[in-house]
Structure formats: structure tokens, C-alpha cells
Symmetry: C2
Subunit: 161 residues, 2 copies
């Protein structure tokens, strides 16, 4: 399962199917334009992720001011869980998009899958931030310890954009 983390200069994986909101509908994240931010997290409702994501929700407009088109939170969770978590994170709604990578295709293609069996029962996403420009990856930050939030905190990422 261990795979090489994607590197700047690579193309964003266009073959992976994911879901958002609708459990019946899968789609590919393609036609990326401008710059976009992808925030990978190990697990909805875990302590670290639930501490990290409010930072992206509250600073969403600052990401927009930096010229970022979309902020995507990506987790290897099913869409029902991700929707419930989004509602808990943003009861009043948010434009941050919550992507359910329920088959781990995108996470695997990004080289971000790791064995989270001891805590979460199976493979999950490393905690990472990937920034794209068009369909190209321009920066990658990965937490050395997935349970910690350092380089992937919103206030650490914003100044670099």
C-alpha cells in the first residue's frame, strides 16, 4: 500500500473517482483551472482533523483573496460520514468542499495512502496539502506524523500562496 507521494510538477490524477454530497454520483476532479488547494485528512470526526478544518473554513475568504478557486477537504470516508462531519464543522454552511474518496482512488493516486489500521481500521489518507495550478501540482506538504497538524494548518499554508 505504501506508495510514493506525488511531487510538484506532476499532473493532478484525473482518473480517480470521488463523491461529494451525493452517494449515488461519482465524478472525476478534472478541468481544474487556476489554483486550487487540496487538504487531505486521515479521518472525519477524529480529533486532529476536527481541530484542523475549522481553520480552513474560517479563512476561506483569505484563500479566495489569494486567488484560490476552491479549497477541497479530501478524506477516505464515505459520503454520508463526510456530509455529517461537514455539517458539524460548518453548521451554517461553507464553500469549502468536502470530498469523499470512499474507494481511496484519489488518495492512492496522490501517493498519500497509509495504513491507519491501528487507529482507524484500514488505509486512510496522510495529512497533506497539495496546491495545483491548472492540472499541475505546484506544491506538496505532508505531515510527518498524520495525527499532528503543523505544516498543513491553514495559517501555515496561507502565507505560502
Amino acid at each position: 500500500m505504501a506508495n510514493r507521494e506525488i511531487q510538484p510538477g506532476s499532473k493532478f490524477p484525473a482518473n480517480a473517482t470521488v463523491k461529494e454530497d451525493n452517494p449515488e454520483q461519482t465524478f472525476h476532479i478534472t478541468k481544474l483551472t487556476g489554483r486550487n488547494v487540496f487538504v487531505g485528512v486521515p479521518g472525519a470526526f477524529t480529533g486532529a482533523c476536527s481541530a484542523q478544518i475549522p481553520g480552513y473554513i474560517s479563512t476561506y475568504e483569505q484563500f479566495k483573496e489569494k486567488g484560490i478557486n476552491n479549497v477541497y477537504v479530501v478524506a477516505v470516508n464515505d459520503v454520508f460520514v463526510l456530509k455529517a462531519w461537514k455539517t458539524q464543522m460548518a453548521p451554517d454552511g461553507t464553500k469549502v468542499r468536502f470530498i469523499a474518496d470512499d474507494k481511496a482512488e484519489l488518495t492512492l493516486a496522490l501517493g498519500m495512502l497509509f495504513d491507519a489500521t491501528p487507529l482507524l481500521g484500514g488505509p486512510r489518507s496522510k495529512r497533506y496539502v497539495v496546491v495545483t495550478d491548472g492540472d499541475k501540482i505546484i506544491s506538496v506538504a505532508v505531515e510527518p506524523v498524520p495525527g499532528e497538524v503543523t505544516v498543513t494548518a491553514a495559517d501555515k499554508v496561507l502565507p505560502l500562496l
Copy 2:
């Protein structure tokens, strides 16, 4: 992954490790005494499961009056998700126990694992009710369609106890 559903007369699988509340702590459901009810569900936060489980929470005392020691809800979800779902299902708490079968060991041993990839991304639990007496299984009900709640509804199970 398809496996044979466990039958009445079989022993409850004692080797499977599960979690409850604490992500760091796995345990075996052993030393079952008297009669216990296990309710398997495909997914926390899905519509059908979230409609089914309140029935067990609201009739918990009726299960006790029938001599049932514990009512266990078992899902192939991680413990963080299951805790969040329990809180949503029972904001004021409940004695119904929510068991995270995060590695699907118990569900597999019960023969209840099915491929839920289209909707949920991977293998999950069929919707079932298993009643035990001591360490022996005395009745098994499985929904023909996991997304529906008929024979596994609390008000259908109670009269049979």
C-alpha cells in the same frame, strides 16, 4: 468476500476484535451471559440506519424487560465515526452500545460482510439482528435488501424475544 451467514446453534465468534468509544483499545466480545441482541448496520449516518437505530434506543427498556442484557449496534465504521453517530442518535446518552468493527473482523466472522462499494466505497455489514444466549446464537434475521428496514426493526424484533 461473500461468506455464509452464521446460523442459530453456532457459537458467537470470540476471536474478533472490536472497539467501543476508545480508538486505542480493542477487545473481544466474550463472556456473553444471558441473552444479548446484536444489530448490524451498513453505515453510520446513512439514512436507513439513522432511521432504524432510534427504535432501539427508545425501546431499550422494553428489551431489558424481556431479559436482554445488552443491545449492541455493530457497524464497519471507525470508532470516531461511531461515537459521533451515537451522539447524534442519542444526544442525552443511551445504554445501547455502539461497537466499531473497524477491521470488519466480527462482521466477517458472522458471515455478514457484503460489498457495499457502490454506495459506501468498500465492504460493510449487512443489516441483521442476531440474538445470543450465553455464547450461542439463537436467532438470526437478515434484511434481504441492506438499505431497507423490515425484519430488523426494533418493533419487529421485540415481540419475538
